[in-house]
Amino acid sequence: MVFTKIIAFSIFQALLSTLVAVILGFASAYYVAKKKSLFADILVSFSAVPLCVPPLLVALGYVLFFGNNGSFNRFLMAVFNLQEAPFSILYSFSGIIIAHGFYNFPIIMKAVADVWQRLPEEEEWAASLLGASRFRLFKTISFAHLRSPLASAASIVFLYCFFSFIIVLLFGPIGLTTLEVEVYRASRLSLDFSKAAFFALVETLIALTIVYFYSSFEKSGLRSQGTSAVLREKTKMGLSSRFFSIVLFGLISIFFLFPLFSIPVKAVFTKAAFKTVFFHKSFLPALGASLQSASISALLATSFAFVYALCIRIKDPLKKNRFFRFFPFIPMAISSVVLGFIITNLLFALRLQANLFILSLCQAFLFWPFAFRQIQFSLDAIPQAIDEAALMLSPSLLYRVYKIYLPLLKTGIISALSFSFAMSLGDASLPLLLAIPNIQTLSLFTYRLAGSYRFAEACASGSIILVLSVFIFYIGERQKKNLKREKKVRMR
């Protein structure tokens, strides 16, 4: 494949996938933020799924549901008495787009819904009184506020799809290649490091350009003029809204939840898969190591994100400096193959033997952009007037941080902790790269099961990661609701 074609394909598939994720994510965010919907509330708990379930299991999930021998095709074959699988979209370009788009939409949904829930209603009331139509209200007020989180989350999804490896090769047309495949081939197979470095450089530059574009959106995003303490009441769904929600959530169930649930179902219906995992001598130590490293990296990532977000708030309140917003996303522009190369060389140069703390440190470095994003959006919701009042009335910076920012950013901090914890929990590449003697995490345990013929057991182990991540998000959301309730009571 010609080099320009490789680049064009890598960008094209990532753009289309992001577009699907944006449409689904934005529409779901509307229901999560504005409507009373149990389904939407449940969906929020799945926000970290794209970040914590290993791509190999995601691909297997789609295959188990939509594949030639998948549940969906077997159901159609039984109902219509067919000999061949009638539904075959998986092994095609549309298969890549569907898997990427549906798998990643919760990232966008969560980012947009978090801001949408906190948008000040006063601006809309004023515009409404002045005769603005509903579309105009949405365009000039809601969307103007939502543009920044939308662009930010879309950049993340784009990068995820751009670096995607397993889904693209598994579902894509035969012979297809991406930049990531070429980097892998040059660095691991033909050992042509200069070629690998060239491909990696091109790949990283493209990713950085995308991130830079995001920062321009960020710059033009509006700062909230309202107050984060007043949270919008969710309204009941009307007839048309109910109809669209059925269509939307039906699609999400078919193309996201059912393939995802196929992973634990496969494990449940395979004799003793869960039992084998639970009673394996490495399971409990792996679970312990995962919880340890995820807790440390979540704390580190969130603390660093908090300090950085606060610094740029103080240093650049009007968001004039684009680099400040661009900087946190740099780790995301580095692919896993390139990262492996950097870490291996760094540890070698420092003569360091990897351990659980180094693993947590590396994960915190990689995942802090996610934590930063969550905290930044909460910070943006604080009116500038509060900053100014705090500056005048507080005796010291520490007092301001402790008494003003920490309480106001609680919900953002909870989201940041949940995201970085879930990401660390699901990360198999760093534990694999660092190869800590005698220590494996649950995700590495899962990866190793799949590499030794034990696919059902890998599904069982992957399901445990999935449940842990959903549980963490559920706890986080409940905590946030409690905080909202407290605020309301205080306001009354």
Partner: protein
Amino acid sequence: MKSFYKIITLSIFSLVIALGVFTSCNKSSKKQLVKDERQKKILVYAYDSFTSDWGPGPALKEAFEKQSDYELELISVGDAGEVLSKALLEKKSPRADVLIGLDNHNAQEAENHGILAIYEPKGSEGIARAIRFSNFLKSKTEWLITPYDWGYFALIYDTESHLPAPNSLEELSQEIYKKKLILMDPRTSTPGLGFVSWTYAVFGEEGYEAFWKALKPSILTMAPGWDSGYGLFTAGEAPLVISYSTSPAYHLEYEDTSRYQALIFDEGHVMQVEGAALVSGAPNPDGGRAFLDFLISKEAQEIIPLTQWMYPVNEEVVLPASFAIAPKAEKNLVVASEIALEASKRLMEILAD
């Protein structure tokens, strides 16, 4: 503004101190280890599935340490490609004594880069000539790499499918096999590269491209790795997959089923021979040699079949009963690794068009 710089300075300062303390602790302990303990320790770089709970690594370590005074440290460095890649990066100042993860497809690269030292291990005379690495290297050097297991690339067939089993590679391009074959990408997977070598050996320089053009409609997907490809196969996506002739032994041993069968074709099969080698300039060459001696001993080789799902190189080893389902090919085919890599590169360009 002052407060901003205070926070920045404080954060950087704390981070540097934390890193500094951490690094110095590790560095000093490392230095101590290098000085006093290094000669008692053997450091082996291996691929991940070798060192995992289900691989031979843990049992080999236990058995080796029981019979020697050395401490064996098996370091997983990712996949087999990364073993060679890492050794190459450390060429000027090697840390590992032995590399595991070399095979007949990357052996030439390892020799070209001069990172290995020749060593003929004790008991090597018992290793069959057909699986010695002299067959795969241009220089014909016999003991640059020591083989420790081997197997044939073969198509695994699901006997519960309604499809007849093919009898040759040629038959795979028939209409009835449309979208029925799962392969692996030769750019990212050893079985993928092995299949390209196999077709090259059977159809030759003139015929293999035409064969692949005819085969393309039969391929359901080219998975990025063996795990994803074989996972699709066991999920029932297609009745044929490229793997090893020994794969059915796993299903018989642990799932008590002979549903999956390896197909042996008259035209012959390409082998994968896996090998270990002493690193040139290794910090503990004596330890490395002792481990290579052990690796081909009967005791170590008995661990191989049920962990690697490959044949041991030591012919004294009695194979487990489940290996009765793993047939051996009557004809061995050999393709030089450089030719295989070049052929796969050209092939992917053809398939992409």
